[in-house]
Amino acid sequence: MTARILFLGPLADLAGAAEMQAQTPLDWAGLLSLVNAETKAELQNERINVACGGKVLAVKSELMAQDGDEVALLPPVSGG
């Protein structure tokens, strides 16, 4: 019963990995407890978005990942 956590863009450098597995069910507090202090602080910044199962969450603290879900941690974007 696991979810896949993805650290996108610069978050991968901060977390020290591009992805990790986590036990489910996994809520926002649970996710924050799995990362290092710097990453935890950054994830709580409003600049960071969270997607679960391919949908961006309107309120990331309401994360509730189930078995098989992919959770993507999305820092500020820069395309073009």
Binding site: L8, P10, A72, P76, G79
Partner: protein, 147 residues
Amino acid sequence: MRDIRLLTNPFVPGMLIGPFANANPGLGGICTFVGEVRGEGGVEALELTHYEPLTLPGMEELADTACARFGLMGLLMVHRIGKLRCGEPIVCVSAAAKHRRGAIDAVDFCMDHLKSAAWFWKREKRADGWHWIEPRDQDHADLARWK
């Protein structure tokens, strides 16, 4: 005619724009923007990563919005991902409409959104290694014009 794509290999804008223009007979104006990797400041390469489950659906949604808002006849929106070298095109947006205002504004709108509201992350390689690019304040100000 609508053509929304992510490309992992280098592309030649003219090879996309020519057929796109021909695919929209009766257009009054067509506006095109091409962004390229600038080599200044010692930049050796650029890498664009994205989050696949969101990127293309987000671009399709952006295209829907632009087509409706600016009454477009056609929209081409192509974005590179992966490693790019200096001088390579990163992005190409082309909009066809009856009048110039819709075509020009649509390109402006799509570029502002691709810059700071689409799921891409960009880093550049300089002599001392890779550096992530943060969106500039100007990019956020540009985006806010459309609210």
